[in-house]
C-alpha cells in the first residue's frame, strides 16, 4: 500500500476513533489528543470492528472479549494474544495519511531492538514474493534463514511420506517462522513450510542476524529473551492428539 489519504483530522474527535475502508482493508484512526494513530480496523482475535470498542486515552479495548492494546505502540496488553498492525501516520495540512510500516516492526521478537539495529536488520532482509504452492523449505533442509510473514499465508506440515500432519499456519503480518536459524546446533528444519496463498516474506540470514545483534548486545539480549519465550511456548504446549 502506497501513502494513502484516509480522512481529515477534524473527522475524528478528540479521544475518539473511526474506521475507514481503504483498498479492501479496514483502518482504524484514533485521535489521542496530542497525536493520531492508525491500526488495523479489525480485532486480530475474531475480526470484530475495533471502532465499536473503548478508548480511554491510553488503552484501546475490543468490546467483545476485552483484548487490549497500548495506543502508542499497538502492543498487546492484558488478555490480548496478538499485537495490532500499526500504520505510520502523517498529518499534512489537516489531512491524515497512512503508510504501511515494515513487517519487521510488527515482529514481537524484535520489539525492543534499538532503531539503529532494526535498520541494520532491515538492510539484511530480502523481500520475496512467492506464489501459492511454493515450498519454502522441506523437513531436514538446513535451517539457515529466518522468515517474517508480510502478507499471505504459510502452512506447516510435520512427519514424512504419507504420515504427515498439518502443524499450524501463519497469516498475520510480523509472524516469524524458521527461527531455528537463530539456534546453534539446530541446523535442520523439522517441518515443511508451504505458501498456501500468494505470500510476501522477508528473509533474513540467521548468522548475519546474530552478527548484527552481537554488535548491539542490549538489543541482542532482548531478542534472545523473547526467542526463549517462543521456544518455551513451543516445547511446553501439548503436542499429541
Amino acid at each position: 500500500m502506497q501513502k494513502q489519504r484516509i480522512c481529515s483530522a477534524s473527522d475524528v474527535p478528540d479521544n475518539g476513533m473511526k474506521s475507514y475502508d481503504i483498498e479492501g482493508r479496514k483502518i482504524l484512526v484514533v485521535n489521542a489528543g496530542e497525536c493520531f494513530h492508525a491500526y488495523q480496523g479489525l480485532c486480530p482475535h475474531q475480526d470484530v470492528c475495533l471502532d465499536e470498542g473503548y478508548f480511554d486515552g491510553q488503552l484501546l479495548t475490543c468490546h467483545q472479549h476485552l483484548w487490549q492494546w497500548d495506543i502508542r505502540t499497538g502492543d498487546a496488553v492484558g488478555l490480548a494474544e496478538a499485537p495490532l498492525e500499526k500504520y505510520e501516520v502523517e498529518v499534512s495540512e489537516g489531512e491524515i495519511f497512512v503508510v504501511q510500516s515494515s513487517a519487521l516492526k510488527a515482529v514481537d521478537m524484535l520489539k525492543d531492538v534499538s532503531p539503529a539495529s532494526l535498520e541494520r536488520l532491515e538492510g539484511l532482509a530480502r523481500r520475496e514474493q512467492l506464489p501459492a504452492g511454493t515450498v519454502i523449505y522441506e523437513v531436514d533442509d538446513p535451517a539457515d534463514d529466518l522468515y517474517v510473514l508480510e502478507s499471505g499465508r504459510v502452512e506447516f506440515t510435520i512427519g514424512r511420506d504419507d504420515r504427515t500432519r498439518l502443524a499450524g499456519f501463519m497469516l498475520r503480518k510480523g509472524e516469524v517462522f524458521g527461527w531455528a536459524a537463530l539456534l546453534e546446533q539446530h541446523p535442520r528444519r523439522i517441518a515443511r513450510a508451504v505458501c498456501h496463498e500468494d505470500s510476501v516474506l522477508l528473509r533474513l540470514n540467521g548468522e548475519a542476524m546474530l552478527e548484527a545483534l552481537e554488535a548491539d548486545p542490549t538489543s541482542g539480549l532482548m531478542v534472545m529473551r523473547r526467542l526463549a519465550t517462543l521456544v518455551a511456548r513451543h516445547t511446553t504446549g501439548p503436542q499429541n492428539s
Partner: protein, 346 residues
C-alpha cells in the same frame, strides 16, 4: 466420524458420534475449542469447512451473523455427516489439567417452584454425578422443544447429583412457553451437555469479589457465593453483590441473601438495585441485612464501589446491554480486563 481441526498452532483429531455436535465432540475430548454461548447466538465457535459434509441443525441461528462465507459454520450447531476437515483461525490448546471436561448426560426435572410472577426455580436430578466450577452453565434440552439452551447453575457441589437453575419467562421463548404453560413438568427427562463457561471462580484467586448481575444472571453469582461461603472466602476478602431488577415484584433470593449475610458476616454486602421504582419501605424493613437502592445495576455498583475497585475480580451476568454497561464502567474505572469475567450470550 473423524474430525480434523486445523488450528493456528496445530492440528487436532477427534471422533464425533453420529448426531453429535462438532463443538461437543471436541470439548468432550478435552480440546479447548473456542466457544462462549455454545447455543448458536454468539458466533465465537465459527470454523471454516475444508472438506466433508455437515448438517446445520439451526440454519437461522443468530450467531451466523459473524460468518463471512458459505464455507463457514458454527461448530455448536453442526453435525458431521462424513469425515470433516475444518479450520479454526485461533490457537487451540488442550484444556488445562484440573478443568472440568464437559460431556453429554441426562437427568429429569425433580421440582419446579415459582420465585416471582415470571421466574421459576428448577431442580434437575442428573443420572450421573457432574463436576463443575462455580459460575458455569450447562446446555439443557427436552424432547418436546428443538435445540438446547444454556442455563447457569445456582448451586455449587462436588459430584453434583442435583443441578439448580433459575429461568425467566421470555415473551417469545419456545422452551419458556413450554415451561410456563401451567402444566407440571415434574419428572420430564432432559438431555444435558456441560459444564461450560469460562467465567469461573476459584478461592485461590485471592481478590475482592464483585458480582454485578441483571435479572436471572444472578444464577451463576449464587453458585460463586456458595463456593466462596464453603471456603470461608469472606473472612479474607470482601464480597459485593449487586442484583438488578426492575421493580420490587421482580426480586427473589432475598431469604438466601439474608442467610449468606449471616453466615459470611461483614465481609459480604448485598445490594438490590431497582431500575424502575424507589425501593418500597416494606421491603427495606423486612430485609435489614440487604441494601436497596434505585438505578441501573451498573450505576448503583459504581456508586457503592467508588474507591474500592483496586483489588477486585468482577463477575458479570445478565442481559447483554447490562453486561456491556458494566464492562464499560469497570474499564473506565481502571479495572484491568483480566479481572473482568463473563460469558457472552449475544
Amino acid at each position: 466420524m473423524k474430525i480434523q481441526v486445523n488450528a493456528r498452532n496445530r492440528t487436532h483429531l477427534f471422533e464425533a458420534s453420529p448426531g453429535e455436535k462438532i463443538l461437543h465432540s471436541g470439548l468432550a475430548r478435552g480440546i479447548a475449542l473456542p466457544y462462549e454461548c455454545a447455543s448458536g447466538t454468539c458466533g465465537t465457535c465459527k470454523a471454516k469447512r475444508v472438506s466433508g459434509e455437515i448438517d446445520d441443525a439451526w440454519p437461522d441461528a443468530p450467531g451466523r451473523k459473524s460468518l463471512k462465507s458459505a464455507d463457514e459454520f458454527l461448530m455448536c450447531q453442526c453435525v458431521a455427516r462424513t469425515d470433516v476437515v475444518a479450520e479454526v483461525p485461533a490457537y487451540v490448546q488442550m484444556m488445562d489439567t484440573g478443568s472440568c471436561v464437559p460431556c453429554a448426560g441426562a437427568g429429569r426435572i425433580a421440582s419446579t417452584e415459582m420465585l416471582t410472577h415470571d421466574v421459576m426455580l428448577i431442580d434437575v436430578d442428573t443420572d450421573a454425578p457432574m463436576e463443575f466450577d462455580a459460575g458455569q452453565f450447562v446446555l439443557l434440552g427436552v424432547d418436546e422443544v428443538e435445540g438446547m439452551r444454556g442455563w447457569s447453575m445456582v448451586n455449587f457441589d462436588r459430584h453434583a447429583r442435583r443441578l439448580r437453575f433459575v429461568v425467566r419467562r421470555k415473551p417469545d421463548g419456545v422452551l419458556s412457553d413450554w415451561l410456563f404453560s401451567g402444566t407440571s413438568r415434574f419428572g420430564t427427562r432432559v438431555s444435558l451437555f456441560g459444564p461450560l463457561g469460562h467465567a469461573t471462580f476459584y478461592p485461590s484467586l485471592g481478590r475482592d469479589l464483585l458480582c454485578i448481575a441483571g435479572g436471572s444472571g444472578i444464577a451463576g453469582v449464587m453458585s460463586i457465593l456458595s463456593r466462596a461461603e464453603q471456603d470461608d472466602y469472606f473472612s479474607r476478602h470482601s464480597g459485593d453483590v449487586f442484583f438488578g431488577v426492575r421493580t420490587a415484584r421482580d426480586v427473589y433470593f432475598l431469604e438466601e441473601f439474608t442467610r449468606l449475610r449471616r453466615a459470611c458476616g461483614q465481609g459480604l454486602t448485598v445490594t438490590v438495585a431497582l431500575s424502575d421504582e424507589e425501593p418500597p419501605s416494606a421491603l427495606v424493613n423486612d430485609y435489614p441485612l440487604i441494601r436497596f437502592d434505585r438505578g441501573f445495576v451498573h450505576e448503583v455498583a459504581k456508586r457503592h464501589m467508588a474507591g474500592r475497585l483496586g483489588n477486585v475480580i468482577a463477575y458479570l451476568a445478565g442481559p447483554p446491554p447490562a453486561v456491556d454497561a458494566s464492562i464499560r464502567m469497570l474499564l473506565l474505572s481502571r479495572v484491568t480486563a483480566d479481572n473482568i469475567r463473563y460469558d457472552k450470550f449475544s
